[in-house]
């Protein structure tokens, strides 16, 4: 009895392993009741599910042969990246349309994981219809690899009751903060994101652009430059001179928002989501908050870092599925869909025309008012190696901001490591 069981068990194990390896190759071919199953992988949008489901079912009505299935991803960008890394490298075909973070597009394109969509979405047309920042992030070497879905941008929040107007230059920001704190001791000046994570890189790049710097030059990620040194010196100086509390080196978005929300800071750098929180009924700062472009060294309105998500097509799916996937992307990035996402989920539209849309202006005036800010949004270095180098950037930026290394030394080290990592690609 025992003996006869052994081969069975062994066989079961082997079969189990094999089918495990072939995961996903069969499922997608399956058509439920003659209909093609199209799978969309996306992150939860948070909000009433109704309007989004309606948007999806409109696609099904227009394409009777398609059964649309949505599958949720982890809400953390890191974990979603990990998921795609393992599944797309494993040539998974069990999803067709996927969301990609703004910094992943060149990486996924270069690795051959997402399809070239240039025919369905020519770069020239994207440039006409979409804001410049998101287009820069999805067009790699003249080819379209994704279509912007919704976007985020770094902006400056300020307290209208504590300062005369939004500061235009760094010097003004420091002076306004100092004056407000003289009137109200115990107040903090400027809170931002200084913890070692991706948010810090956004803050540093914003300061870099504000000092007239560029993130890339001819395909090389540029770090050891004068504007970069000035940017890190400025951020470190904010802490050293007490404009920002020393604790910002442990802050991500929520830590900063809480301090600002409690009315204990004059300025904050954050994403647009903090606005709705600040305007809630019981918010101590309700009605006392303004938003503005980030300041710069010379007073030109600054650029905020671009965040947000794009839709791309899994490169491993068949040509027929790809055509359907492109149709779905066109549907989900239409002006109508942009409006649904803005009105019901507070997601900022990447389409330029939406900011003039009368229904959006009426239903979500805050989003419509972001126009000047989203037009200036800029992506972090657009390079396939961004995820390869982002660790180095984060740790060296963190060292400079925490005062562990001088900006010069941190940038020299970062440049050396980044050149080493990307140089190997040649």
């Amino acid at each position: 009895m025992a003996r006869s069981l052994v081969p069975v068990l062994a066989l079961a194990l082997v079969v189990g392993l094999q089918s495990g390896c072939r995961r996903g190759s069969d499922e997608t071919r399956g058509a439920a009741g003659g209909r093609t199953r199209l799978v969309l992988k996306y992150q939860p949008l948070w909000g009433p599910p109704g309007p989004f489901h309606e948007l999806l079912s409109r696609f099904e009505q227009a394409n009777p042969g398609v059964e649309l299935v949505t599958e949720a991803l982890p809400n953390a960008s890191d974990l979603a990246h990990q998921f795609f890394l393992t599944s797309l490298e494993g040539r998974a075909r069990d999803f067709d349309v996927l969301v990609v973070d703004v910094v992943w597009v060149p990486e996924f394109a270069r690795a051959g994981w997402i399809a070239d969509l240039s025919e369905a979405f020519p770069p020239a047309r994207l440039r006409e219809e979409f804001l410049p920042g998101p287009v820069e992030a999805v067009v790699v070497e003249g080819r379209t690899y994704a279509v912007p879905w919704y976007l985020d941008v770094g902006i400056l929040y300020y307290r209208t009751d504590l300062v005369p107007r939004a500061p235009r230059t760094y010097a003004e920001l420091e002076r306004f903060a100092r004056e407000a704190r003289e009137r109200e001791p115990g107040l903090q000046g400027y809170v931002w994101q200084g913890r070692q994570y991706e948010g810090l890189s956004c803050n540093v790049y914003e300061a870099l652009w504000g000092h007239g710097g560029e993130a890339m030059e001819g395909g090389r990620v540029l770090l050891d430059t004068k504007p970069a040194r000035e940017a890190l010196t400025y951020l470190r100086g904010l802490i050293a001179e007490g404009v920002s509390p020393g604790t910002v080196t442990g802050f991500s978005e929520e830590e900063a928002r809480r301090v600002f929300q409690q009315g204990r800071a004059v300025f904050m750098r954050n994403w647009p989501y903090a606005w709705a929180e600040a305007q809630k009924e019981d918010s101590p700062i309700r009605g006392k908050v303004g938003i503005a472009p980030l300041p710069t060294v010379d007073g030109e309105p600054g650029s905020g870092a671009l965040g947000g998500w794009q839709l791309a097509v899994n490169a491993h799916v068949s040509p027929e599925r790809r055509r359907l996937a492109e149709k779905l992307i066109a549907h989900l990035t239409s002006p109508e869909a942009n409006r649904v996402l803005a009105l019901h989920y507070a997601r900022n539209p990447p389409r330029t025309a939406l900011y003039e849309d009368s229904r959006l202006k009426e239903g979500a005036p805050f989003i419509a008012g972001l126009r000047e800010l989203v037009e200036r949004a800029r992506p972090r270095p657009v390079t396939p190696y961004y995820n390869l180098i982002s660790d180095v950037l984060q740790s060296e930026f963190s060292a400079a901001v925490a005062g562990l290394r001088t900006p010069e030394e941190a940038l020299r080290r970062a440049q050396r490591q980044v050149d080493h990592l990307t140089g190997e690609a040649e």
Partner: protein
């Protein structure tokens, strides 16, 4: 003769019976290890789309990689301090739990609560308690504004504190099990001889507790050396990589950068450190058992 034959048969049957579990173990434990070792001999970076054999190239780079050595230093520091503190706290706690007093059962169960909460959850709780502005810890310290998770000197110690909070009860239970293995007669004899309680502790409790302590050391140091979840939630390795441990470095290299070759080399290096540690402890443990 026939008795011998049946023994032989029984032995063969025994092999067959353990074969499935050996197979399963090989599939889930041995195969991943060997695969990681094999990968670590390659240059395999997803975004470059290349995969080629480079022998020990990754390990050559690793030996000169300052970030690796700093991660190793952080890991060793974390392990030594956390495990030492846990042991020092666990022994008195175990002695207390051994005493008979009303509500002992309840207390024994209660001390396990930190151990029972998933680390990711408790680390998230601690992260808020460490919040410099509104966190509980600074308030308890009388309104200090210590930047627990953002200042280079503090962050690793904050992580150690979380680990101590979480695992001291577990170590205490291990020690308690050891305490209960000490025959009561020895204590009676010591009382008859008029030994002080300190003397009793030093000459009876501690020596006889040695195997249990070594076992706790073995478990805990291997665990602490691979620490990942608490630190990942608290600081993600920051500020300036001062809390980056080997596991976090390996994870970031593998999963964030998609550098499977070097990431595997880091995992293999971590594995080698853990194996050395385990061998040393098992040797000591064996000697302690013999000495009994």
């Amino acid at each position: 003769m026939s008795a011998r034959g049946s023994l032989e048969r029984e032995r063969r049957q025994a092999y067959w019976l353990v074969a499935p579990s050996v197979l399963v173990l090989a599939a889930v434990a041995l195969y991943p290890i060997l695969a990681a070792v094999w990968l670590s001999l390659h240059r395999f970076i997803l975004v470059f789309g290349e995969r080629r054999f480079i022998g020990l190239g990754n390990f050559a780079y690793l030996s000169g990689d300052a970030r690796f050595w700093s991660a190793l230093g952080n890991t060793a520091y974390f392990t030594v301090v956390a495990v030492t503190v846990e042991l020092v706290l666990a022994v008195p706690l175990a002695l207390l739990l051994q005493r008979a007093f009303p509500g002992r059962g309840l207390l024994r169960a209660a001390v396990l609560v930190p151990w029972a909460i998933p680390t990711v959850v408790s680390a998230r709780l601690w992260a808020w308690m460490f919040n410099p502005d509104s966190g509980l810890i600074n308030r308890l310290l009388g309104g200090q504004d210590i930047n627990w998770l953002g200042a280079p000197g503090y962050a690793l110690h904050a992580a150690i504190l979380v680990d101590v909070w979480k695992t001291t009860p577990f170590v205490a239970l291990l020690v308690l099990a050891g305490l209960q293995g000490i025959p009561e007669d020895l204590y009676k004899a010591a009382r008859v001889d008029g030994a002080s309680s300190w003397r009793t502790f030093r000459s009876i409790t501690l020596p006889l507790l040695k195997p249990a302590l070594l076992l706790a050391l073995l478990f805990r140091s291997l665990d602490a050396f691979r620490v990942f979840d608490a630190i990942y939630v608290l600081t993600e390795g920051g500020p300036a990589n001062t809390t980056e441990t080997l596991s976090i470095y390996a994870y970031k290299t593998l999963m964030r950068s998609g550098d499977f070759g070097y990431g595997s080399a880091l995992s293999v290096a971590t594995f080698a450190c853990v194996v050395v540690l385990a061998v040393v402890w098992l040797r000591l443990l064996g000697r302690a058992e013999e000495g009994r």
